[in-house]
Structures are given as structure tokens and as C-alpha cells.
Chain length 269, copies 2
DNA sequence: TGATTTAGTTGATTTGAATCAAGTGTACGG
DNA sequence: CCGTACACTTGATTCAAATCAACTAAATCA
């Protein structure tokens, strides 16, 4: 899905793996663990001493790269480990009985997947790879034991769980109050910000998810997503070419986000 | 607010405090700490040894009862402690610049408030008391230190944070996919279930929040909340009299919840 | 390579819920 | 106890976004 957008980069060797549109890693390199990981400052090890990182590192299992459509886990699977996106992108979703999916989130490198299952014995959501991705896996039981003797790691874990809650809260605000334009604008700016933190361009990127998935995530119909993107382009706020997005006018997008949206404005309760 | 609905119970003494429509506690009793708390099996101490409970207990600060409209904290306040509802009810919300409020959650006894602020220095939401409530307060710094040397408590904390994430996820599903009827039905059943866990009637209860607050929480206009409740009553699924709610037909409500709602049904992505 | 499927766009129409507008009943302050 | 304010209800109207429908362009595959 991503391959056809590759910029002219050194051609991958046979044994190498294309993990995203901008990145090619050798099979050797996926064996590198936390202490050398480029996500050191985005991921679990953030703020840990080199010593602690090494111990954490010992728990991480590096699976073979997964490809578009592969599952990390399915709803109902027993919960045993957390998954961390190393490269690529993953979506989590709630499968509906009729075969449909409600997308719950898109996950970029350094983001942890499966936090909602800690309190349970099995997963309540499913996770699927959007583009070829390298995924770290960490046994939660072992991890929990390690955090019990590593205060910094425990603190970091609280931080991450809390961040997740805060992000969900923002999403509730978005779904509860914002109209279609504000939702799309928020979505694009959020993605942009997360890409920036990863050292990628915040204004020029490729979407690894379909319009349908975006719609599902934002509570909108595909047609609405399409129409609003076109409108944004007509208004010179963005440029769209299929999955390629360029953000041209950040402040206009931000203004849209803040506009209360759907309902003129919140009344006093 | 709750007082006028009180069932014929022994009249409270002058120094006593009415904390909810069904419960009157003496000022003395609010000094009772975790080890005697009726929420022992719903709250933080769940699964802890008596010894650990005692240590946790030492950190808990019991404030004076708060009354309707009192703030636990406001957005922007420095985050220092977690709050736990002991009796009563609390709402959390995101204040909007124009003075409006987007309700983020309603919190019953045993539920922890402020988990979204752990990763930050200040609160991102505000919390206000809906009816006279007793609130436990616990310094997060001290608590964190205690969890670092109490594996069971740490585990419980992970569990609670994860549960919160899972609940938010359900809310995302609700806001993203469900129509007005499904939202109200979910709301009523959710409340019912939480009351049952607390030993209260799951089918006959009083709402401590206004229609406006329900609407804000569910992403609906007040008028819609009112209309749907009336419709439910016409269909004999519930009986409503102001804040008094009786659930008459659980299975009908459950069926409504599951109906995909707004959109006929999710398509494959 | 051409055929078929799938993703995305665009337009027309419908519709569920918001908004606007009265009205009623309950709570509350003097 | 009365008057005012506020919470809630109910009806009429509007509107944003869903649905329906048709079409185009990619992607996939035989």
C-alpha cells in the first residue's frame, strides 16, 4: 500500500523489508532492542536510566514484520502481552457481529496497543496492521514484575495509561460536539502533530488508512469524509491526492477545530 | 436535590449529613477509613491484604462533605491528588470558553476521579459535585511511592487505569455509532448496572444529574433527551417522574442498545 | 493485457436530531 | 405564601449529514 509512494531511496536488498513509505530496514536491524531504538524517547523507555532500559529490553520480543491486513490480536484472544508499534501503522477496532468494524484508533511508531485489556483476561478490541509494520511484543506479566522493582518504569507506565485516558477524552469531546469539518480538521492536525514528534514532515504525509476507516473513526460516512476533504482543498487549506496529504494552512484548520461545530455553542448546564 | 425524594428513614440528627437519597451518615462515620469502608470491594483496596489496606488507609484524607455545585478541582488546577467518591455523585466536564460545559462522565461511589491528569502537571477537566457527597482524597505522590513497594496495589492501579480506558472506548462506540434512543438506553442500563454493583436497586433510582447534563454527556440536545425518555415511557420500557426512573423492560432496552443505530449498520472497511 | 473488483468522488434525496418557540410545572427566594 | 426563575416538556421548523445512486479511477487478478 505504501510502497508505490516511495521516494527515490536506495533499493532494498532482497532480505530487507520495506516497513513504511519512507523507511527501509534490514532484517538485522529489527533485532536491535530498546537501547538502540530510535523510539527511545517516545516509547516505554522514556526517562529510564540506561540500566533500566537494558532490563526492559530483555523482555521485548521482536516478531517478524507484519503486512497489511495481518492481525496483532482479535477480540476475544487471551490477553498476554502489550504490543508496541516500532515502524508502520496499526488500527484498533471493535468488530461488529455483521462483519463491520468501528475503528477505535490509529497507532504510530512508539505507541502501545492493548492497554484496554490489562484489566481483563481477553482483548475487547482487535488490532490490524495498516501497512507493513514491525511490532515489539512484551509479556505483560513479566513487564508488571519489572515495573514493581523499577519505580521509574512504573511511573512511566502510569503516565502512558493516563495519557491514553486523556486522549480518549479528547476524542469524546470531538464526537460529542464537533461537526464534520471540525472532526476532519482535528484528525489531520492530530496526525500532523504525531508525525512531527517522530521527526517526519507535519505538513506532507501519506495516509495509511482508507477514507472508510477515517469515517468510521470519526463517526462520519465515507461520502462525508470525501466531500469535506474536497471542500478543504477548494478552500486551499490542504492539497489532497488520493492518500497523499499536504497541509497548507494550519491556522485555518485550527480555527475550524475550535469552532464548537454541530451545535452553535454549548449552553450552560 | 436528593432530600425531597428520601424514603421514610430515621431522621438525620442535626450534626449528621445527608449524602444521598438513600443514605444518611454521621459525621463520625466519615472519619472511618478504607479498612471499614463499604467500598472496600469496589475501590482501590480491592484485592489487597488487610495490611496493605491499612497502609493505603494512612494516605487517605477525608474532607468535609461537599454540596451540590462544589468543585473538587477545576481545569488548570495543579494536579496533586486523586479523588474517590465515597458517597454521592460527581460529574467531570470540560468547560468551554463561553461558559458552557461538555460533560465527560458521572462518577458513583468507589470511582476514582483525576486519572487523566497523572501524565500532566495540571487538570485538563473540572469536577463538580452533583449531590451532597463525601470525597476521599489521596496524594498521588505518596500513593505512587506506596504502589512501588506494594505489588498488589500497583496491579490494582493498572487494572483501574485500564478499566477507565475500556470504558472510554465504549463511550466512543456509543458516540460514534449510536442514535439518540440507543444512547439513552445505554446510559440507563449502564447506570443501572453500576447501581446494582453498589447494592442499590438496578431498576428504581433517582438521577442526580439534569436532563441538560445527560444530553451534554451523550452528545444530544436537552429536548432530544426529554423526547426520547417520553417515548420510552410511552413504549412501557421505563417509567419517568422527574428525576425518578424505573426500568420496566430491560431486554427491550438492551435490544435498543445493540441496534447499530444512526447508520443502518456498519459496512466492511 | 483486459476484466473485474474495490476505493473514492460527486450529486440528489431523505431524515434524525438540532434549533427555534411556546408553554407548564417545580423549585426557590423573599 | 406568593412571585420569579429555572428545569423540563412538547410542537414546528430547519439543517447537517446519512443514505441512495451513479459514476470514475485505481488496484487486483485471471
Amino acid at each position: 500500500m505504501a510502497d508505490q509512494h516511495s521516494l527515490p531511496l536506495p533499493l532494498p536488498k532482497e532480505e530487507d523489508v520495506v516497513v513504511s513509505q519512507f523507511q527501509v530496514i534490514s532484517l538485522e536491524s529489527i533485532r536491535i532492542a530498546c537501547r538502540n531504538c530510535s523510539l527511545l524517547n517516545l516509547c516505554l523507555p522514556t526517562g529510564l536510566t540506561p540500566n533500566d532500559v537494558e532490563r526492559l529490553d530483555g523482555l521485548i520480543k521482536h516478531n517478524h514484520p507484519l503486512h497489511r491486513g495481518d492481525y496483532l490480536f482479535r477480540r476475544g484472544d487471551p490477553f498476554r502481552s502489550l504490543h508496541i508499534v516500532k515502524t508502520g501503522a496499526v488500527k484498533t477496532f471493535a468488530p461488529s457481529p455483521e462483519g463491520g468494524e468501528q475503528v477505535l484508533g490509529f497507532h504510530l511508531p512508539g505507541e502501545i496497543i492493548g492497554l484496554d485489556a490489562i484489566a481483563r483476561t481477553s482483548h475487547i478490541s482487535s488490532a490490524k496492521v495498516l501497512e507493513t509494520s514491525a511490532i515489539c511484543e512484551i509479556s505483560f506479566a513479566k513487564f508488571e514484575t519489572l515495573t514493581a522493582i523499577t519505580p521509574d518504569l512504573q511511573q512511566q507506565m502510569y503516565r502512558l495509561l493516563s495519557l491514553e485516558i486523556g486522549q480518549n477524552t479528547e476524542m469524546l469531546l470531538l464526537l460529542g460536539r464537533k461537526n464534520a469539518e471540525a472532526r476532519l480538521a482535528s484528525f489531520l492536525l492530530n496526525l500532523s502533530q504525531r508525525l512531527r514528534r517522530r521527526g517526519l514532515s507535519p505538513s506532507d504525509f501519506y495516509l495509511s488508512m482508507s477514507r472508510h476507516e477515517i469515517g468510521s473513526y470519526l463517526g462520519l460516512a465515507v461520502e462525508t469524509v470525501s466531500r469535506v476533504l474536497t471542500r478543504f482543498q477548494d478552500d486551499k487549506m490542504i492539497r489532497v491526492d488520493r492518500k497523499h496529504i499536504e497541509l497548507l494552512n494550519f491556522s485555518a484548520l485550527m480555527t475550524l477545530c475550535e469552532s464548537a461545530g454541530q451545535h452553535r455553542q454549548q449552553q450552560r448546564t
